[in-house]
Amino acid sequence: MPRLTPQHHMAAVIVACLVVFGLHPQRTINLQPMLPKDTAAHLVDYTPYYPGQKELYRHEIFAPQNQHKKRLVILGSSTADSIGCDYTWQRPDPHRHPDRNVHYSCSITSQLNTILKKNDLNEWEAFNLACDASRQANMLFTYARIAELKPDLVVFIDSFPFAETRNAGVTYLDASQYAYLDHVYSQDAHVAAAWRHYSAFLTRRGEETGYKVPIETPTPDYKQKTAVSSHISLNDILVAGAGRMRNVFMIDARPLPVSYNPTRRVWSEVGDTDQEETNPDVGYLQAFNIIRDMQALHGGQFVMVLAPIYDQRHHDSFLQSIHEGRYGQYFRDNHLNVLDLVLLPLEPVYETYDGYHNTPAGNARIAAEIFGYLQRQHLLPPRSALAQQPDTGDAPGTPAQRIF
């Protein structure tokens, strides 16, 4: 063992500092040419939550381990996202930590995955691409980003007509994202025709509603950020490795116990009579044709789900409009596959905490209804004979109806 003096250590620390913090070889040397092409995809910190429109490549649907899964994608707004386990999702409770009881396991998607596994459909995985406050336009953008993955099944859950309001949420997109939509939906002649019609409709409605379509930039960039990288440094690998270790050793915290708040709202079924919010132009429904037609290009399926809405259960004119009225007529004329769960009698407080958003128990019932419907429609394979556990789709309540 060589004898090392403090002077040796001091000199070595100075040299090491100069190299590591002066030259940064751990960041500047590109290791990509020596690594497999898909290495960058393995270095991403994937999430089951909506990662933001500009970070969508970080969603777990893009993770290499899910590459060979059959994908069931959930789109929509907060009703579909449903990661809030109780009312504190919208009204944080400062007396609890965390103040929002939010966890992916509370969602409809997570409940669907539980049912898929219990039915031994292990090659299937449900992915939650819904996002709080979403409308059609930004969900069309989200779908455009995942279209390359050719999802087997897309389920758009809407507290109808939330996704159609605010001119379908066109202002959630910036000009380059809108140009990206234009680019993706113009690649097939049939879809392009539907998109052109819908886009012209949004532009016209933008003038009428004040929610205007973002103006395209002179030189639109059709590329969105992806995991693909031409430069991978040692630092990138080490940071990803540290993240992987944290993921393994840290405990995945469970959600807090569900907190019930009977005074959250008055539970009288009066119906929502706000015309602007409940009676949008039927032309907005064209957005669903676009997703349906894009899905058809690779043999995928599309189902629209009308989510349970406590206030609308006894609202005759609303029910009439979606069943026999102009919306129902549109669904029928356009052969849209619609599952109507508006009348699903979720129990106030215990299954739905505000009439739109649900506790895990309510989400489990919705997931069971969707799963049962998809099986009856032969969009999911029948329950495997190997499955030994009972189906969770046995929640009591009104059976789901296919209205068209």
């Binding site: 060589p2 040796h8 040299v15 910190d45 994937y46 406050a133």
Partner: protein, 50 residues
């Protein structure tokens, strides 16, 4: 004798420097991972709307 001592010292400093370089690189990566909360994307929900 003097030359031999210098070479020995240089070798020792070079070896030690390599060790410190490895330690510093690992430390800076660990600090970065901690600051960026890498590995917590699934464990901790973070609000990201649009």
């Amino acid at each position: 004798m003097l030359n031999r001592l210098k070479i020995n010292d240089l070798l020792k400093v070079a070896g030690l420097s390599l060790a410190y370089i490895v330690v510093f690189i690992l430390l800076s990566a660990a600090i970065q991972a901690s600051q960026e909360k890498t590995g917590e994307a699934k464990i901790n929900f973070e609000y990201r709307v649009f």
